[in-house]
Symmetry: C2
Subunit: 621 residues, 2 copies
């Protein structure tokens, strides 16, 4: 592919023809579904040139890791992506008309239900981070020479600038962002109208090569895209001036057209567009084969050696986490670890030191951190583990939601949880993610196993990491762990209450149990290990053996943590009373022991609750 | 205050002396608390010059709306802020030594428990949006000539750039950002080291006047701050080059010093610093009085006229929401509405059209949207109502958490909720916020009352807005509504099951009830109105009258919605069985009715569940 091809008359005409066809496809499919944004065919020329001139990929193997990729930040432009693949022969035109139907995988926004789309996007401004993660993976892990293109409609979201900063810092010259400045942002005209120099100045200030182009001129587009692929040492941002509804005379640049269907106007519009097409048959431009082949990484993950602790010794759970990262990293070169400039706090530094080439520093920008990780997980090129402070991950909830929708295998760990660092919504946030698995390990052994299990689970996992130096090891190195399987930590044959608690509150429960035992009251203690799913069978069996009484105690707010999980699990099981101890308000600063006392989740509070619940009429009467 | 004062030898010496004193205070208080970041006294000169030369404020009335304000984005620099106010005579030096104790309001990060701090910050990069909201309020609502200064330590977070864009768009020339480039970011040196030109280029590209200054030179600082206060039409960004630990020879610019205590070194360091102070007595520089007085806005909010609908008519709940915004806006000029470029989708456009001067367009940048609203709520200058799409608010969870910690009176509404727009975690997210109130109105009348109630509640409120045209009015215009009070929508004296459902699923339950009644089975239907708090008494009473059987049905995921709220509320009440209907996975695109059916939350699903629960042994046997 050389630059001269861009001016070949035959090629130019064909690219223009394809753009018109894409325009028709997108009008027809959105009309058929009565939803979508047909006017977004303003990017028809951009897409046509990218897919039929610039990009190198194998139609027969859309998942090939060496294919160039296009990531749609403009998620609602999905219909035109579908149209591309119809044009490429992947499915019939009639399939396109099923857009948005419940029996069709062609949805209004791109999702990876379709094997040629990589990440679910559509939540504005997230895709560039994902594209940066793909480009990082291509350049540094796969050492491929493929390119990642990202088509962006709006740039107001701060996540865009986090990604811009990441990409230039890591010299991602295989990344090309195309900013479609179409002068429409919902019903308002965008802030900057068509003042492209503002976009140019910003992108340049963030370290990108920046090129301005007429987004409807296929020759200019072809030359500019070609120039972008020749960049060295910097990512390229192409600022494309377009008009919404270009090529459709009835609506071009009409500020009321975004999101409206053409409906009655459709046939007239299609007729007009069709007449502009010269070559209606197969267009003769064959996508260029990509030419690298890669070995796939080993995606079966295990701890390279079992945990090696002494029962009763004190181990900071972060230390166990860092050790586990190194061990799973030894077993599989698919494991990569990302952190947002907190690697010494989260102990992901241990992985960084062991495998510097597989550690990605994302600096203090959590949205970018999660987006990049999603991109790294692309096509299962890697298994990313994202380390952060539990409270900071809240910054990236929307990115985590989209990662879930992308069916990504991705594990998060959140350190500095609980009352001492005011991270008290983390279990709730991760539990609300569809299909997520939420681990809350109580000691070093179970933490190592949580990392091992999480790395093998397809979907979003969260591991809550307690950051305290004085956590005793309570499980032997051989203890087996499984998702949804609780451990009974203490029991007798005359237990009167079941306590469900994890880590900090588990140890408070043990203290409470010892004190109560001295006065002749025995209690059972359950460590759930995973909060979602929670081990319903074990908890019910225990409750039935302890007078139908359960107390949950957790270093978390009332909603979405251990108490919630237990209440939900038992909602269909009457005859069980659940009392819940939790942190009821935004906590004050203070020494840890005083905080546990003030917010009622220490041994004394548990003892008080045990006495209260056993003195009231119990559930089974 | 004129520029010449900056060079007065006496003033310069005093400002430098104060900087040294602040340095000592911060060392002593962090030593006493064994935590904190004493090395952050790198900003001692910046703070000294701001508070004792540049800023105009009344020490006796720290809450006065015309005071110039400093917002700390560098939240962990709180000890130096405490020291300032001790220096100003607000409390004794001995009070400072209680930093971080549970009995002291001097916490490691700033919180509004102290009446001279405005917003809880410390989650990095949020404060500039808050400061921009304060500046917007000062300039456009209060028409004050006060200034807002914002001291920023890190600029990697994308939220910074959203705020930068907002501030320049609205020409906030009363806003001054001070970027403390101290070349330390946790254990890593920052990406750009001391390359100040990169920061300058970025801030300028985002439309700010940008000035570079030596952050340890009080003369330069005074001149630069003075210049910033003279800016017209643009906000000013001051890039200050500093060294962490400046003035403390043992640790200056030592990359390992961040977060470490001086401890043993303290006395030597303090001795060294003290010797540099010439004037140890009261320094003689009196803060300048601010000179405007303002009328306070009316903060008692009600609907200017009651709802005016016909029972049974179909009204889109967004329409009722927009109408209610206008009505509360008529009753109180404190009400301001913010939106992120979705005002025609959320119907906040109705308020925009009625009160254009009290509508703030924040464009597609939700983190900035919420941060600006927090700033607008500052000192109760306004009561902000933030309108957005339910799914987009997830982008700003961390900002919402901090708004809650700031005890802000702020209401959020989320439209386009539920299975049709894939916003299925919103109830969970807002329920997990401490102290929040979560409304889920089912018709137009209850929606108007929800807006009225929310506007009067101190804390975070969320109103879930269903975006469908065919929602019938089921309550009379006179119906009273209250937080935590459910409505029994349908009952008989032989109901066999209680259904708890809101809006979409409430109407499905009504359909189910009509169908079941035809076959002789009566069911009770409860509309909870608020999901948090939920009306425990009404639900328990109903359950007891309906065989101990409850079914919840909701257009939300399993966690954190109606089913969760009911299960948690009843966790201590045995003899009640709860079955839950919810959306179990990331939904497919498709027509609404088909989605309700596929995910099991329509009338047919409710009928099936009623038959199942009544045929099994019921709870009270």
């Amino acid at each position: 592919m050389d630059q001269d091809q861009c001016t070949d008359v035959h090629t130019v005409k064909k690219l223009q023809d394809i753009a018109e066809k894409l325009r028709i496809f997108s009008i027809r499919s959105t009309d058929a579904s009565k939803s979508g944004y047909p006017t977004l065919c303003s990017v028809a020329e951009v897409i046509s040139v990218l897919f039929f001139h610039t990009m190198r990929y194998t139609v027969e193997d859309p998942e090939h890791p060496n294919n160039d990729r296009l990531v749609l930040s403009k998620g609602h432009a999905a219909p035109i992506m579908h149209a591309i693949w119809a044009e490429d022969g992947c499915f019939s035109e009639s399939e396109l008309l099923k857009l948005g139907r419940i029996d069709s995988d062609l949805e209004g926004h791109p999702t990876p239900r379709l094997n040629f789309l990589d990440v679910a996007t559509g939540s504005l401004g997230q895709a560039l981070s994902c594209a940066a993660g793909m480009a990082y993976t291509g350049k540094y892990f796969d050492k491929s020479n493929s390119h990642v293109f990202c088509l962006i409609g709006k740039s107001a979201e701060g996540s865009i600038w986090e990604a811009m900063s990441f990409a230039s810092h890591y010299k991602l010259d295989n990344l090309v962002a195309i900013l479609d400045v179409n002068r429409s942002e919902q019903r308002e005209q965008t802030v900057f109208q068509h003042d492209l120099d503002i976009y140019k100045a910003r992108a340049e200030a963030f370290g990108w090569i920046t090129l301005i182009v007429d987004g409807h001129n296929v020759v200019e587009l072809a030359k500019t895209f070609w120039a972008a692929t020749q960049a060295r040492g910097k990512p390229t941002c192409i600022v494309a001036k377009t008009y919404e509804g270009h090529g459709i005379p009835e609506i071009v640049d009409d500020k009321n057209c975004h999101g409206n269907l053409l409906e009655a106007k459709s046939e007239t519009v299609i007729k007009f567009v069709k007449e502009k097409i010269v070559n209606r048959g197969p267009d003769g431009i064959v996508p260029v084969e990509s030419f690298l082949s890669l070995k796939l990484t080993n995606t079966s993950v295990q701890l390279a050696s079992p945990p090696a602790y002494r029962l009763g010794e004190n181990v900071d759970i972060r230390q166990a986490y860092g050790t586990a990262l190194v061990k799973v990293g030894e077993s599989s070169d698919a494991i990569v670890v990302l952190d947002g400039d907190t690697n010494d706090s989260t102990f992901s530094k241990m992985f960084k030191d062991a495998f510097p080439d597989r550690f990605v520093e994302c600096f203090l920008a959590e949205q970018s951190l999660v987006g990049v990780a999603t991109g790294c997980a692309w096509r299962e090129r890697t298994i990313p583990i994202v380390s952060g402070l539990a409270c900071c991950l809240a910054r990236a909830l929307d990115q985590i939601r989209l990662a879930a929708a992308s069916q990504t295998n991705m594990t998060f760990s959140g350190s500095h949880c609980g009352v001492s660092h005011k991270a008290l919504e983390d279990l709730s946030m991760f539990s609300s993610i569809p299909g997520s698995i939420v681990f809350y390990p109580s000691d070093a052994v179970s933490t190592q196993r949580a990392v091992e299990l999480a790395a093998n689970i397809r979907g979003i996992c969260f591991i809550r990491i307690t950051s305290r130096s004085s956590v005793p090891v309570i499980y032997s190195n051989e203890e087996p762990f499984a998702v949804g399987k609780a451990k009974i930590v203490r029991q007798s044959n005359n237990d009167q209450v079941t306590i469900v608690a994890s880590c900090v509150t588990l140890f408070e429960a043990i203290k409470a149990a010892e004190s109560l035992a001295a006065s002749g009251v025995n209690i059972r203690i359950i460590d759930p290990f995973t909060i979602k799913p929670i081990d319903v069978a074990t908890i019910i069996a225990s409750a039935q053996q302890t007078g139908g009484r359960i107390i949950t105690a957790e270093d978390h707010y009332a909603e979405g943590g251990i108490g919630s999980a237990v209440s939900l699990a038992l909602s269909e099981h009457p005859n069980i009373v659940i009392r819940r101890l939790f942190v009821p308000e935004v906590p004050h600063d203070g020494p840890f022991e005083e905080l546990l006392d003030r917010y009622g989740i220490n041994a004394a509070s548990i003892i008080k609750e045990v006495k209260s619940i056993t003195s009231s009429t119990h559930a089974r009467n």
